[in-house]
Symmetry: C2
Subunit: 351 residues, 2 copies
């Protein structure tokens, strides 16, 4: 990849407002000094101009695109779509559609981002609904989990599409050659899962996809590092993701308590902070792995966590760049085509 | 509570076999030296006699009840029920039915334990299906989560029953006065959950239960300590529980790595191990919170984790004793009756 990459940014999204976004671009410049990236900064000029004046390094690589309105975090997606034209989110996505930008990053309302992206960018051929992916740390790297919240009710066909998208995503972004794909389920013997996951399991096995599918896995496998792609519906995936966040926070609190509970513990913490503790802190901080990609659209859309600060937003920018540099869009094609022709055969056989 | 409590034990259940069970009784004797408990030890005498000879303290409080057969971990529940008569699991549950024992503990096949318990003990009036509860640590105590695996597909009415059972359970076992109850959901705006959780939310609000219901909560709330009872279906609950276990294990690995990565870190670990680290280790170890109760039956059934060792099995015994000493069976009645009459009114109004 040569030349300058252009990333479109919804500067008004996120709980912390435009400051976190502009600081995030600043942080990205420092974290990846060799990457040549320019930014289209969509948002209200009254708020953005002072911030850019404050951070000249960001101003130097950014082009301000004034947008009069903003999609609010509380807007319902269906209403947002109707009223979003001209908002920072709408315009930021439009920059991808027009070909100006390689990807768009927003920390705004997830449901609205999904709905507006579908309207503007449309779905890839063979994809019924997009999914949101999450990158999950493991001792060996990252597991990709999808869907983590876009679709609260999923059919078996959708789960198969998620498997195809997640597998291509892991190869594209993490460079794995044959990522192992598992379907999230419970471990009870006879009660082995609900009808949907059982049907999806059968479909993946029968449809001859070019994929290393390992079958059902359980919740504890997500972070174990023995597979790379975890497929689930958006209800379960969202709850698993937030449960893991909560657990990491709980354990971090215990560690902090253990390190401050006595003079010897404090002394120990002092010794640790020479390096290992800092690394531990970063590993346990979701900020450093922020960013969910909306997969299945004809364009790259990255959702930053609503509560992300500058460091978090920079992580989402990093992910958008990695996606834009990758060959995800081509990688995904082969298996989507295979699954489409499998489905066509099934329909023909049934009629 | 005065007098000796009798606990029935399925000595053949669990991945580690009878040794872990007998060692578990030994550990319980040490952990709670003031509790007067006797044990009915159901299992094959050829395996149990040598273990009891090895551990005379356990032999002194146990009565061996020979059982010729064992329910295997791989047996399907429906088959297990048909073939289980005379097995250690069947006989152990029968001891509760007959009134000999106050509760039964088993680390065996969950599906079979559930199925056989339903056949022998039957459901409480007003409960359609039992649920398995898990005790989840928080900074303030414990949250009870149910169902964590008994029912992979749940209707709204079942979720309401889980709320009733979980609330009574928390009061009985943890002594809380007005535990807050939440319904596990995703945080997406318009997509606020699937049809079932929305319906259950409406039912709990309308049915006038004597309960502090706080509405929808998200995965990260489970371990935050701001509520005491989390209601969900067995599919989502099981995945959330195992995801949390996996996350705790991942973070524990990072902590271990941070404490052994250099000479200064090792020195720090040495200082910490004077106390704080030990406490941290115990907190992060699921063994110390082992034990899920099968709620909704006419008798107390505690499921120990299949992989639990002696320490883990002792925790499950402790939970069985706490349940047996509590007034759970009476506590649950009031709200179950309220919900039954609410449902009867609804049916009458609809006809």
């Amino acid at each position: 990849m040569t030349g300058t990459m252009i990333i479109s940014v919804d500067a008004m999204g996120g709980d912390l407002g435009p400051r976190a976004v502009v600081e995030g671009i600043g942080d990205a410049l420092k974290r990846w000094p060799d990457r040549e990236v320019r930014y289209l900064l969509h948002g209200h000029e009254d708020e953005l101009k002072p911030l850019l004046a404050e951070m000249p390094a960001v101003a130097a690589v950014s082009e301000l695109r004034h947008a009069e309105t903003t999609v609010e975090m509380t807007d319902k997606p269906s209403e947002a779509v109707r009223r979003a034209r001209g908002s920072s989110m709408w315009n930021a996505i439009q920059s991808v559609k027009s070909g100006e930008a390689a990807a768009i990053v927003s920390g705004g309302n997830t449901g609205a981002l999904m709905a507006i992206s579908k309207v503007i960018l449309r779905m890839k051929k063979g994809v019924h609904r997009p999914a949101i992916s999450a990158n999950w740390p493991t001792p060996k790297g990252h597991t990709v989990v999808l869907d983590v919240g876009a679709n609260v009710q999923c059919g078996a066909t959708q789960l198969v599409e998620f498997a195809i998208m997640g597998e291509a995503y892991h190869r594209a972004v993490f460079g794995s050659e044959t990522p192992k794909v598992g379907l999230l389920n419970v471990g009870q013997e006879e009660l082995k899962g609900n009808d949907t996951v059982r049907e999806a399991d059968g479909l993946i096995r029968k449809s001859g996809l070019d994929m290393e599918y390992i079958g059902f896995i359980e919740g504890n496998d997500i972070s174990a590092g023995d597979l790379e792609v975890v497929v689930t519906d958006g209800f379960t995936g969202n709850i698993a993701l937030k449960t893991a966040e909560g657990t990491a926070k709980l354990v971090a609190g215990w560690v902090r308590e253990a390190l401050t509970s006595s003079w010897s513990a404090k002394l120990a913490a002092g010794l640790l902070s020479l390096g290992a503790l800092d690394r531990l802190r970063k590993r346990m901080d979701p900020k450093y792995i922020n960013g969910g990609v909306l997969l299945g659209l004809k364009g790259i859309v990255v959702k930053s966590h609503g509560g992300a600060d500058g460091i978090g937003f920079a992580s989402a920018i990093g992910l958008a760049c990695a996606m834009a540099e990758s060959d995800f869009m081509a990688e995904i094609r082969r298996n989507l085509d295979k699954f489409e022709s499998f489905e066509a055969q099934e329909v023909a056989a049934a009629s």
